[in-house]
């Protein structure tokens, strides 16, 4: 390896990629897209709310209809039975203005059934609205029918909801409240990030290899440097591009997020904060957030991310060298992407049981460990397992890079032949 040449190749790869229009556009737009995607459901909900649907209620019992209260989404209109007759007739008369017709049957107290007539399938919000309202009024009626004083209070007291708080001992023996959900969330986010970036930057490397090959520049370059220098230079260059992109994204996302956050602060953000405060009755969210060792997780994330990236990147480079055009590459990329997707599924499966056998073995297999370990990390993996898994990952990354380099140096100079995996294995010799 010639250091100067290697850095020269890294530099070119980095500068040329960063200067590409597609890169600049993608880097600048992505945070806005993310915020937009996050904002769309909120917006849609707002739009939905403005559209109040009218629902007719036919109450055959003549007493329960008052339990169904109108809200922002639905306006309930009580129909006098005598005037309008059966639901079909009513719908025929006023079909245009009615979303649905609810019938509370006379025998509801024994059948516990409410009927909803409508032309299209019924909105689930309406169903749950009716379910809650009718269940409550029937329950209350039932309780009242026993004629026991204060029974409703007794029953309310009997309805016990147990709050499970997990407390883990830190090394110093302090008690810390930990949140399983939060740990899972952090794990899956990191895992998804590894997944996304490996595929994204992996294909960036592959395309760069294919471009050099189809441009026919590659023979000129390898007459000046060793193929492995070119391949590693490319991998390191793209890794730096990835880091740059992530850095810009996090800065932009922070800025955009806070601007949008201020805009929503009065309504949604407060509602969310309120809900969160409600959820964590006495142990504050802040405390739980504090119980997770961010520095450690971030450190491990970096180690696994780099290892996983190297492992897959050299594969992408080797496969890129085996084809003449990008359109031929799918026969090779499909298997890699499948492996990466399997790794992601393994990670999701391991969320349920982060200390189980599957989790353990998937942490040892280098192709899955970068993603699976992200999910396991917040749950304190035994040190020996982390170390062993990192050692296996890096050893296989180095080994695979060496093998890929052999495929690469043969592949880049071979044109006009569709190569199969079998050919690639032959090139290893």
């Amino acid at each position: 390896m010639n250091k100067n040449r290697f850095f020269l190749i890294v530099q070119r790869e980095y500068l040329e990629t960063v200067a590409k229009k597609s890169f600049i556009v993608m880097t600048l737009l992505m945070p806005f897209l993310i915020v937009l995607l996050g904002g769309v459901p909120v917006l849609l909900e707002k739009l939905n709310k403005s559209d109040v649907k009218t629902v007719a209620v036919i109450d055959e019992t003549n007493q329960l209809a008052s339990a169904i209260k109108s809200d922002e989404a639905f306006h309930f209109e009580l129909i006098e039975q005598a005037t309008e007759g059966n639901p079909r007739q009513l719908y025929d008369n006023r079909g245009d203005e009615l979303y649905a017709i609810v019938v509370i049957p006379r025998d509801i107290e024994s059948t516990h059934q409410v009927l909803v007539y409508s032309e299209s399938s019924v909105n689930s919000v309406l169903v749950s609205h009716l379910h809650t309202a009718m269940s409550r009024v029937l329950t209350d009626a039932k309780i009242a029918s026993y004629g026991i004083d204060g029974l409703d209070k007794i029953l309310k007291e009997c309805n016990i909801d147990v709050d499970v708080r997990s407390i883990k001992w830190s090394d110093e023996g302090d008690e810390q409240t930990s949140s399983t959900e939060l740990a899972m969330l952090i794990g899956i986010v990191l895992s998804l990030m590894s997944y996304m970036f490996v595929i994204m930057y992996g294909s960036m490397i592959m395309n760069s290899v294919i471009e050099e090959k189809s441009n026919r520049i590659v023979e000129v370059i390898v007459s000046s440097c060793k193929p492995i220098e070119l391949m590693l230079g490319k991998i390191v260059g793209v890794a730096l591009v990835g880091l740059t992109q992530m850095l810009i994204w996090s800065i932009l996302l922070g800025i955009v997020g806070s601007i949008v956050g201020i805009g929503f602060a009065s309504t949604e953000a407060q509602a969310v904060a309120g809900a969160m405060a409600e959820a964590s009755t006495d142990s504050s969210i802040i405390e739980m957030l504090g119980s997770i060792n961010y520095l450690q997780i971030l450190g491990f994330f970096a180690i696994y991310f780099v290892g996983g990236f190297l492992l897959y990147a050299s594969l992408f480079a080797a496969f890129g060298s085996a084809v003449d055009q990008a359109s031929d590459a799918s026969q090779f990329t499909t298997p890699i992407v499948m492996i990466i997707v399997i790794a992601l599924y393994a990670a999701i499966a391991c969320m349920e049981n982060p200390d189980g056998d599957i989790a353990f073995w998937c942490s040892m297999i280098p192709f899955t460990s970068p993603m699976v370990m992200m999910v396991r990390l917040p749950f304190d993996v035994p040190a020996w397992q982390s170390l062993l898994s990192i050692a296996i990952l890096y050893a296989s990354a180095i080994g695979l890079t060496a093998l890929s380099a052999r495929i690469y140096r043969t592949g880049i100079l071979l044109y006009g032949k569709k190569n199969s995996i079998k050919d690639l294995i032959k090139w290893l010799k």
Binding site: N2, N4, R5, L8, I9, R12, E16, A19, K20, E212, N215, R216, I217, E219, V220, I221, V222, S223, S224, C225, K226, L413, Y415, K426
Partner: protein, 311 residues
């Protein structure tokens, strides 16, 4: 003195033998032609000299010493299948290639300016490669090959993609680089350019060197006692004991004939006899062209006689 020496180099890809014990030596400061049909092994040999691939056996020496990894910086290589990064700017690209060959940025800039000037490309320095015409891109490629002042230049089909005007400029540049002391290995199918610029050649066929030596000596060796005779006013008399007439054409009363001397007959004899009988306007020996020798050696059959001869 031999600048480049290829000693007994063999290379095999799977079951395909690319080179069978090929040897060759190239004099310092000469232009050496590497000829051969497609698939004969030229590119394999060139890639071995460039250290892109390594021989199964044998070695390559530069200046009498086996090549080391650093020697690639002494070589400039223009491959047959060549290209550039389309999105890079001309100046950046040339400097990148120069620095890959170990040149300092500042030196590369000085050299580049001169070359761009010479090829009339100065105003294109800050344009992207993709904006260039094919001929201009080829010139940029050429500059990228020679900018680091390599002692050994390897050109694989250098003229492909050049129009005749630019090919001529390129030929002059190659000769100029030779005069400045570079040793040049020249692989081509263009036999006209071989005769024009190469002192020595090796002809490779089926992974082996089948013919090598000085261009003039080879042409002498392959000569077939063919002569063109110009007779003024009358047709060439027929002397079957001296020669056979292959072709005859009359032009403005003068006759040009292609004759083949009988074995053992000397030029002196023929001229003496003809001088007695007719008015001799010209008498010239025809040497076979490299083109003809190439085809004859590769296919084993002579080219249709009197076909593509040049003087």
């Amino acid at each position: 003195m031999n600048f480049l020496e290829v000693k007994d180099v063999a290379k095999q890809y799977g079951s395909h033998i690319a080179l069978k014990h090929v040897s060759m030596s190239v004099d310092q400061g000469s232009i050496y032609g590497l000829l051969g049909p497609n698939g004969a092994g030229k590119t394999s040999l060139i890639r071995i000299i460039n250290q892109i691939t390594h021989p199964d056996s044998g070695e390559v020496c530069i200046n009498g010493k086996p090549m080391t990894a650093d020697d690639v910086n002494k070589i400039g290589y223009l491959p047959e299948e060549r290209g550039l990064y389309k999105k890079m700017k001309v100046a950046d690209h040339i400097i990148y290639l120069a620095r890959l060959k170990g040149m300092k940025r500042a030196d590369a800039q000085v050299e580049m300016r001169q070359w761009l000037e010479r090829f009339d490309l100065s105003q294109w320095a800050n344009k992207k490669i993709e904006a260039l015409s094919k001929g201009m891109a080829q010139k940029v490629q050429f500059i990228g090959t020679v900018i680091h002042k390599p002692k050994l230049l390897i050109f694989d089909e250098p003229f492909s993609g050049f129009d005749p005007v630019n090919a001529e400029i390129l030929k002059q540049e190659i000769v100029r680089l030779r005069d400045e002391g570079a040793t040049i290995l020249f692989s081509t199918h263009n036999m006209g350019s071989v005769e024009a610029v190469c002192q020595n050649i090796s002809l490779i066929n089926h992974a082996e060197v089948v013919l090598e030596g000085e261009v003039n000596a080879i042409r002498q060796k392959y000569k077939k006692n063919l002569f063109t005779v110009l007779t003024l006013g009358s047709p060439l008399p027929i002397y079957n004991d001296l020669y056979a007439i292959d072709k005859m054409s009359v032009n403005c009363g003068n006759t040009e004939s292609l004759i083949r001397l009988r074995p053992g007959v000397t030029i002196r004899e023929v001229i003496a006899r003809l001088n007695e009988e007719c008015n001799l306007g010209g008498f010239q020996e025809l040497l076979p062209s490299m083109h003809e020798i190439f085809i004859e050696t590769v296919t084993g059959k002579p080219v249709s006689e009197g076909g593509q001869y040049n003087e």
